[in-house]
């Protein structure tokens, strides 16, 4: 299945969108839309795309009504591709915080999030990937996060997972954990921080963000080269990773929690 949906916030703050099943959007607030699953999947061989455009000084939050469950397609169908491309004009703010992606046994998913930021534009990208449904090891996943700021590359990062590959589940992979999460925050005045209320006292804005480890989750927050952007990476068990991302997102002053 091939589909490309679009959502655009115009200069007058009007939100326009076009659905392309199975990529279907619903407006859920003045500056918020949700992806609603119109079919199972994606399945192997699917090529699904969402294009996002934000005009100058506009704001949009995109959530999803349910988890994305990547399933295997017919034999030989190849990976499922899910591409999200966002273009933010000067001063625009985008929050991309969908529900987790579950990669089932024998499924293969290539997920790409590509963000282009103009001056003063800000983006928060929250992603959580779970290897397998209950009792499964999980399939193959390549998740690429690519961000450019005013024509200059800021981040190129591809997370590689494969629940059936012992080395990628070993000490140089996930260390046996079933969930990984990431929170990218780029733009003026935002900073990401690990732990949230659970592990550390409140800190003043602008203080160095935390990295740490607790039973069931390890995480690190790094300032990216070029400054003005941080990436939090977490690995562990599913509820702990989600809690960590929620806590870190709330300390940015923007709610990264799932809506």
């Amino acid at each position: 299945m091939k589909a490309c949906a679009e959502v655009e916030v115009e200069a007058g703050r009007r939100i326009r969108w076009s659905a392309a099943p199975p990529v279907v959007l619903r407006r859920t607030g003045p500056t918020r839309v949700h992806l609603v699953a119109a079919a199972g999947g994606p399945l192997g061989g699917d090529r699904l795309e969402l294009r996002i455009r934000l005009a100058e000084d506009t704001e949009l939050t995109i959530g999803s009504a349910g988890a994305t469950v990547a399933q295997p397609g017919r034999p030989g169908s190849g990976p499922a591709c899910w591409m999200v491309a966002a273009e933010l004009a000067v001063g625009a703010r985008l929050r991309w915080a969908p529900q987790p992606t579950v990669v089932c046994d024998r499924a293969e998913l290539h997920a790409i999030v590509r963000v282009t930021l103009a001056e003063r534009a800000s983006v928060l990208v929250r992603e959580e990937v779970l290897l397998g449904r209950y009792g499964q090891l999980g399939g193959r996943y390549r998740g690429t996060l690519s961000v450019d700021r005013v024509g200059v590359p800021l981040l190129r990062h591809t997370t590689v997972l494969d629940g059936a590959d012992p080395a990628l589940c070993g000490p140089a992979g996930t260390g046996g954990a079933s969930a990984v999460g990431s929170l990218l925050v780029a733009g003026p005045g935002w900073c990401a921080r690990g732990g949230g209320d659970r592990t550390s006292e409140r800190r003043e804005p602008g203080e160095k963000p935390d990295s740490g480890e607790l039973p069931g989750v390890r995480w690190a927050v790094s300032e990216l080269a070029g400054g003005g952007a941080t990436l939090l990476l977490a690995v562990g068990e599913s509820p702990r990773v989600a809690e960590l991302l929620d806590g870190a997102g709330s300390s940015t002053g923007l709610d990264s929690g799932r809506h």
Partner: protein, 251 residues
């Protein structure tokens, strides 16, 4: 075979280039008992070679090609150029995009710093070892270039080709981790060497892939073609390790 002696010099861990203070992420894993045995080390290397190894090999191979092109340009133009000795003008313009490419593929600030520290150390050695080659000397214009770029430029100066330089990058990634594991876990060095030999075919496959990607990236002048494959635990532990108070290895 031209360049073999220079290549072997760059492959020697005794070359003063600061590599001995890096464990390739092994120390942080050993501290947490996440890496305890030879099979753990083999699993670790297997994943590292395919992800970080591929990225490092591709960037090193790119630098080898870029440095070789600097020589070709100065010969073809037949004008005073960076190849004409230590007093020639230094061109750094060709390197910025590739150095940035390594930066944006290394979200961990601890790993970026480790890469630049190792790059600077090797650059001091390489500019003295091959003073007439424009590769290392032009890289010096960047200040503290990333390690894969210096390794690639130094290997070009030593006469090595892009494939040999990519192999060198994987060799050092494996060697740093294996050496640290021997020291930290007291593993039998003979069995570790045998394990490394067993991983050689995987290294060769990754090197071939890296050279293909690097050749296309340099031909297109597009750093976006370089791989950015990463795994969770090494990047997270690199930051935690950097923040720890007592470490034997810098990374």
């Amino acid at each position: 075979m031209t360049g073999l002696s220079g290549l072997l010099l760059l492959a020697d861990s005794r070359l003063p280039a600061g590599g001995h203070v890096h464990s390739g992420g092994v120390e942080a894993l050993v501290d947490r008992r996440l890496l305890r045995s030879l099979p753990d080390l083999v699993s670790f290397l297997d994943a590292r070679i395919r992800t970080a190894g591929l990225c490092a090999a591709a960037a090193t191979s790119v630098a080898n090609l870029v440095a070789a092109n600097l020589v070709a340009v100065s010969i073809r133009d037949d004008r005073p150029g960076p190849g004409d000795g230590p007093t020639g003008p230094i061109r750094t313009d060709g390197w910025h995009g590739w150095d940035r490419a390594v930066d944006v593929r290394t979200p961990s600030s601890a790993l970026r710093e480790a890469s630049r520290a190792q790059g600077s150390a090797l650059l001091r050695t390489a500019t003295l070892a091959w003073p007439g080659h424009p590769g290392p000397r032009s890289l010096a214009g960047l200040g503290r270039p990333h390690y894969p770029l210096v390794l690639g430029a130094a290997s070009a100066a030593a006469g090595a080709d892009p494939g040999q330089s990519a192999a060198l990058a994987v060799h050092h990634l494996v060697g740093a981790s294996a050496g640290a594991a021997v020291r930290l876990l007291g593993l039998d060095p003979l069995r570790v060497a045998a394990a490394q030999a067993g991983l050689a075919p995987l290294c060769d496959r990754v090197v071939a892939e890296a050279v293909g990607v690097a050749t296309r990236a340099v031909a297109a002048g597009d750093p976006d073609l370089l791989p950015a494959d990463a795994t969770s635990l090494p990047e997270i532990l690199a930051e935690l390790h950097h923040a720890a108070e007592v470490n034997l290895f810098a990374s």
